[in-house]
Symmetry: C2
Subunit: 224 residues, 2 copies
DNA sequence: TGTACATCAGTGAACGCGCGTTCACTGATGTAC
DNA sequence: TGTACATCAGTGAACGCGCGTTCACTGATGTAC
């Protein structure tokens, strides 16, 4: 009611309200509307990491982090679920890229699998809350429901299966169903890392030692 | 404003509103106030199973399931978090009891460990959404933070550690750190079951076969 | 046996909040002539 | 070079909803005398 005279800009600046971060974005040029889309995705990913629950990350908080208004989000995403879906897709791509990068250092399939396990754990420990959402959250689990091959692809599962196949073909691993071997490795590593994330504070041996142990149980025992 | 004449009971009965289930509870006798507490715990557990997210189970829904008003919940629990905590404690006790029951059928430590793994998986598959909340949810993870020994106890972890110790003492398993062996078994089984729960619909071999495989990798390889 | 009373086990209505989303709008940017 | 105009990239205010929780109360149950 009062305070109509001062410009909107001045008001936004002065009323810091709850806003620790509002970098006061500049409006994008004509063809650059997609820039905001990227900033929204990044801010959402950050907030998911900090807050650790998709439900509790509000579109308003995302907007505030970006420095835009909350309706602006709807210029780029039809609704909140779509935004979260897009973030998760990005994150799966990042995980996949990291696995590939770390595996490609090695030639030997067994080394490659160990490298993959360690890279997977590193990713999860770097973004524990995002990992929770990607791999433990109901919403995201359901998202990929129709699209299982896509999930396997994204999560790097096929990468592992193929490497196990190579190992068997090259005589480095005993013949076995490569999908089962890959699955039990994945489950063991995921189990480990998810326990550490959820029951944080539980005092465990260093996680990398545990990962080595899991790799040994899954691979060394299977060496040809 | 209108409709004041008809009794409250009649109103409740007729306005079925969204209420599929409102069993029209009878008020407890003088000393039996604790009865409602139990009913609230059970209704909450049911709803958690059905809905699969602690956030999305509302106190109002719990009250409706029980057939009482929502303020009644606050007669027995100071707030929603305490209610959820109490439910989860109950559930951990049930899991512990199930493990003990299934293990006690066998004498041999290796058999006992296999039985434990299968019982654990059965519990999780019977109450997938509760298992998610107990083992994958942030809120519950945090609840037990101060109380790690209690967690280990509740989840049956100590039971497993002791059985591994027995196995080693009896010469049925190779000498090793019993905690590490138990932990890697737990992680592998938890990893498996949590993948199946979250990524439901993913087409996998029967889970019991996978559990057997995991047991083999963790135990058979370790047999003395 | 009858009645006044304390208390126990609850209830209906409401408060205040934060959220996802919509609506009607604004004003800078580039384009046509 | 100047100006009218379309459009793109946003915005402020508000709606409606569901939630956890509180408040003032009610009425059945048992007890004292």
């Amino acid at each position: 009611v009062a305070d109509v005279g001062t410009t909107a800009r001045a008001k936004k600046q002065s009323s810091a309200s709850t806003g620790h971060q509002a970098p006061a974005r500049r409006r994008a040029r004509r063809g650059e509307g997609e820039l905001l889309r990227d900033e929204i995705l990044e801010a959402t990913a950050e907030l998911l990491d900090e807050i650790g629950s998709a439900d509790k990350v509000s579109t308003r908080a995302v907007a505030q982090r970006v420095g835009c208004s909350s309706p602006s989000i709807y210029l780029h995403f039809p609704d909140k679920v779509s935004l979260l879906y897009a973030v998760s897709e990005r994150q799966f791509e990042a995980l996949h890229a990291k696995l590939e990068e770390r595996m490609d250092v090695f030639e030997d399939p067994v080394d490659r699998l160990r490298a993959a396990a360690h890279a997977y754990v590193e990713f999860a420990m770097d973004h524990p809350e995002q990992y929770r959402i990607m791999m433990m959250d109901e919403a995201y689990g359901a998202m990929y429901q129709e699209d299982l091959d896509n999930l396997a692809q994204s999560v790097g599962f096929n990468l592992i299966v193929r490497t196990v196949e190579d190992g068997i073909a090259q005589g480095r691993l005993k013949p076995a169903d490569p999908t089962i071997v890959a699955l039990s490795m994945w489950a063991a590593v995921h189990g480990l890392v998810s326990l550490v994330i959820v029951k944080k504070g539980i005092n465990l041996p260093p996680i990398d030692d545990l990962v080595d142990l899991v790799c040994s149980q899954n691979l060394e025992g299977m060496k040809a």
